[in-house]
């Protein structure tokens, strides 16, 4: 290999190419973009959770200084605009279609959550728009807010005609077989699970700048999107009725998404709509409060879990009944997240012959809930891994050994679960063994005793997770109610001098694609990493692609790049054969050189590129000039990362404060392209999972007011909450993509919450505590200790 390539190709921890521009302040975010003559829009939001709008008096506001227009739901209705759509709609268990109530981009007659969009005020400056909004007089006729997930089904309809405030009632698995397993069970384990509601909190709030060009009658939207092509399709075809070719969507640098920037929200569409209506560019940037109130939240499930064991403590059946709070309107992937991304993961890494799950999607007067880092798989993993611990305790086994006993054995792959998925490959015991060795599991009791001497309660907890990512095979998605394909596109454009642009349909908003994808190119073509540019996020430049979420970018997008690179090499070989006057079959490509096998006759990659664009000596009879190849790759299956995470905590019983003392994990993500980037993704995922487990809670009161609507009340995980995380990997390569990769973006967030809670419960178990809900805040831990002690005293 030429010097340097080893350090840049697959497996090298290359420093992130994109970081320079971020570190020197040269990032280009949506809010950095300004268009000549732009207006600013401010959204007047509902201060109440559930009300009919009796009247909106905007006369005074319209006369306020700088105001250009005020649009409301009436204008939306008059222009016959659509709302955000649901991208994946599973069928009800009775075979009927779920409810998809309309979601007007500005409320029409009724508001359904605090923050719902009531009016859009357009003015020369943002300050003027805000001041004018204060002059709008809205009369509401309030109704009691419906915020409690457990009782929402018995309350009046939030959307007229939607019975029991239920969007869908879905099932998966074999109920009869599962009942049978429980009838014959030696042990039945029951656990109540609450998966707390969290707020994504991307560092950059959402923003949009829309501009309509009256000359070529074309719109441009710059926006904070994880999937600009999808945004273009939804806004163009479903919301505003704009021919797709007349809408360009650009997602420039985006500061994190975690799922919340997958969906098209009303604000972005209003900007596009108004840019033509008002013949002015329109800009909107959410402030942090708007982000808390308006970005789709995550999780929010209640589940009844039952596990059946035979007399040897082997799992024979699992039943899960879940209520999922989806909020006031359906967001794009709101229905698939608690169903096909959740129910299908209930087998975990365990050999469970019978599984049945029923999930009801419930409407409440809260903001939409949708996919958030992990999307359904964290909820499934949490309930299963908590239940595994409760079960182990109930039958008197060590939690590690109880898991081991029930693992899918390594010779059972491909393994068909009882809930639709087929795991292609995996080997779970070595991951468990390694993690246990890393944390010195066998000497834990010594550490517990030492902590006890200092008045502290020490606990250890694990999670042996699996997830399904690299979403996803389009045919499977379609069969399960998906309305989109989930292939990915790549264009590899070789320039005449041999430099390379890769145009990908994925989108990087923190994941480091500029680096990881470039490494694929270095590895295949033997070029220097500086010769490679990764282009993403502009619908005018990239081929149609599906964007970044579900840890799909490398497994699907990267494979597409790999396939396009193969096509480049194949074409290069024919050119080389022509130039070297050899047969195609005699040309081999290695280390950036096309060589006639067994000779020293060779052409460099750059020479071939030049020849493709200056085709003087070129096989015109066989090839078109140019060196640019496209691949659309549709995977055959999901990918299945797995691993073991173990957390050790110390609790101060006098205050209830939980401190993380140690964290180890051993993950199997298949082959690693850039181990450093992978480790970073794992760290971030763990931090978010620990946030959910210990700190974060979106708390609504009975009136539907969000009580935790700022960082004064919403607690984010911070660097000083963490010990140094010990991250290792083992590899079983994915069997169905060229790179053998699986995906690592969400695993940390999926694996970590149950490890933390299992550790907390383990720490408190000597005090008689058997369960605690997330987040395990100091107050909750203290209360759990109090009630356990009261109970013990009785």
């Amino acid at each position: 290999m030429p010097e340097g390539t080893v350090k840049q190709g697959i497996g090298a921890s290359v420093r992130r190419k994109e970081d320079k521009r971020f570190l020197i302040g040269k990032g280009n975010y949506t809010d950095d973009i300004n268009r000549a003559g732009q207006l600013h829009v401010y959204f007047l939001r509902s201060p109440v959770a559930f009300a009919d709008i009796v009247s909106i008096d905007k006369q005074k506001a319209e006369k306020a200084s700088g105001v250009v227009a005020i649009l409301t739901g009436e204008d939306v209705a008059a222009d016959n605009l659509g709302g955000p759509i649901c991208g994946w709609v599973p069928t009800n268990k009775d075979g009927s279609a779920p409810s998809e109530p309309p979601h007007p981009i500005l409320a029409n007659g009724r508001v359904r959550y605090v923050g719902d969009h009531v009016a859009a005020v357009f003015a020369e400056t943002l300050e003027q728009a805000m001041s004018a909004a204060e002059l709008i007089d809205v009369t509401y006729s309030e109704m009691p807010a419906i915020t409690d997930l457990k009782t929402a089904m018995d309350k009046p309809q939030i959307h007229d005609g939607m019975e029991n405030n239920t969007y869908f009632d879905w099932e998966l698995g074999d109920e009869a077989a599962t009942n049978d397993a429980f009838d014959k069970a030696a042990t039945i384990v029951k656990v109540d699970i609450r998966n707390n509601r969290v707020i994504p909190n991307a560092m950059e709030p959402r923003a949009a700048v829309a501009d309509y060009d009256t000359g070529d009658e074309r719109y441009t939207l710059f926006t904070t999107s994880q999937n600009p092509q999808l945004t273009r399709l939804v806004i163009g075809a479903f919301m505003l009725n704009i021919p797709e070719s007349k809408l360009r969507v650009v997602a420039p640098d985006v500061g994190g998404g975690f799922g919340s920037k997958i969906y098209v929200y009303p604000e972005e569409a209003v900007c596009v709509w108004a840019s033509k209506k008002l013949r002015r560019a329109v800009k909107w940037t959410a402030d942090r409060t708007q982000a808390f109130l308006g970005d789709a939240h995550g999780r929010d499930h209640i589940s009844d879990v039952k596990l059946a064991l035979d007399k040897n403590n082997r799992i024979t059946g699992l039943r899960v009944d879940t209520l999922a709070n989806l909020g006031a309107y359906l967001s794009a992937f709101a229905m698939v997240t608690p169903t096909y991304l959740h129910g299908t993961l209930l087998s975990g890494v365990y050999d469970i012959p019978a599984i049945y799950t029923n999930v009801k999607g419930i409407c409440t007067n809260t903001v939409n809930v949708d996919a958030y880092r992990g999307a359904g798989r964290p909820e499934a993993t949490y309930l299963l891994e908590r239940t595994m611990d409760v079960a182990a305790k109930q039958v008197g086994m060590d939690p590690a050994e109880f898991r081991r006993l029930n693992f899918i054995p390594k010779d059972a792959f491909p393994y068909q679960t009882a809930v639709a998925l087929q795991y292609d490959v995996g080997d779970y015991e070595p991951l468990l063994d390694r993690a246990m060795a890393m944390i010195d599991y066998k000497n834990f009791e010594n550490r517990r005793a030492k902590s006890a001497k200092n008045g502290k309660c020490r606990g250890i907890g694990m999670s042996t997770y699996i997830e399904a990512c690299g979403i996803a095979p389009s045919a499977v998605v379609g069969a399960l109610g998906g309305r989109v394909g989930l292939y990915e596109s790549a264009v590899v454009r070789v320039d005449p001098t041999g430099t390379i642009s890769v145009l990908t349909g994925t989108h990087s908003h923190g994941q480091g694609h500029d680096t990881t994808f470039a490494q694929l190119v270095c590895d295949k073509l033997g070029v220097d990493i500086e010769a490679v540019e990764i282009v993403h996020g502009d619908s005018d430049r990239t081929a149609f692609g599906m964007g970044t979420y579900g840890s799909r970018s490398l497994a699907v997008g990267g494979t597409a790049i790999s396939k396009a690179l193969d096509k480049v090499i194949a074409k290069g070989k024919i050119i080389a054969a022509h130039m070297l006057e050899a047969a195609d079959a005699d040309i081999e490509f290695k280390d950036g050189k096309f060589t006639v096998t067994g000779t020293d006759r060779e052409k460099s990659f750059g020479e071939i590129a030049l020849s493709a664009y200056v085709p003087h000596n070129f096989p015109h009879d066989r090839l078109e000039p140019g060196l640019e190849e496209t691949s659309f790759y549709d995977p055959l299956n999901f990918t299945y990362p797995s691993g073991t995470h173990i957390a050790e905590v110390e609790i101060d019983p006098a205050t209830g404060v939980v401190e993380l003392m140690d964290w180890v994990c051993c993950d199997d993500f298949g082959n690693l392209i850039n181990p450093m980037v992978v480790e970073g993704q794992v760290h971030g995922g763990i931090a978010q999972g620990v946030g959910q487990a210990l700190y974060e809670e979106a708390a609504y009161n009975d009136n539907g007011q969000l009580l935790s609507a700022s960082y004064m009340d919403y607690c984010m995980p911070r660097a000083d909450h963490f010990p140094s995380l010990k991250v290792e990997n083992l590899v079983t390569a994915c069997t169905h993509n060229d790179l053998g990769v699986k995906g690592c973006g969400e695993a940390g967030a999926i694996a970590s919450p149950p490890a933390v809670i299992n550790a907390v419960v383990d720490a408190l178990s000597p005090l008689g505590v058997t369960d605690i809900t997330m987040p395990a805040t100091p107050q909750k831990v203290w209360q759990a200790i109090q009630s356990a002690q009261t109970k013990a005293a009785e």
Partner: protein, 264 residues
Amino acid sequence: MYSTKYVKAKDIDDAATIMASAEDGKFLAGGMTLIPTLKQRLANPDCLVDLSACGLSAIADDGSAIRVGAMTRHVEVAESALVQKTIPAVADLAGHIGDRQVRNCGTIGGSLANNDPAACYPAALLALGGTVHTQSRSIAAEDYFDGMFETTLEEDEVIREVSLPKPEKAAYVKFPNPASRYAMVGVFVAKFADGVRVAVTGAGEDGVFRASDLEAALDANFSADAIADGTVSADGLMSDIHASAEYRAHLIGEMTRRAVTACG
């Protein structure tokens, strides 16, 4: 933020004069509380009177007390050799307010004028039996705090400086609110020759208060053991999403024990 007028006062009398002529003016100290309030349009003053050029930042030894100028920033108190030597508990308190940025801007005068029920300095002032000096008078701590975010300062009254008596021993222990890291419960224990004073912040429905039951217990026996569980009643304590009144009552006892232990 609404637009407003900004004036930099030359000295404390100038500040008072400008304020008197404004309809609804506000003094601006470190701006750590005021600026976010303005940005969120929660206040709409017609004039901001900046105190930064009024020469109000100094720390001086006054025999039995130390005097701290109103515009003295938290970082200056935390790093002051004089404060560290005479009332280390106050240096420690200042050193744990907010984050570095907040400590580099926020001031003792701003903190005391704002009287946030979760702020730290009010506990120090009350436990030490300090005095707030304005351009026109001196107000004893007991007469200064007037409920959450309320003080007995007049509209155009400027805090000039604060005197804090030197105790025999003192310690401040804060249980931070997990989200904001303000005090969810903060207890300042000060032992003087004539008795123990305990002030609690972050917990009271009316803001900072003296805990007489704890003072009595510690007067009788200045040791952590003197604080039995249940000494502090939950009556009059705040309940919110982070902590119930009962949990706060428990934490007050626990933080007091820790403060007494820290007194050495």
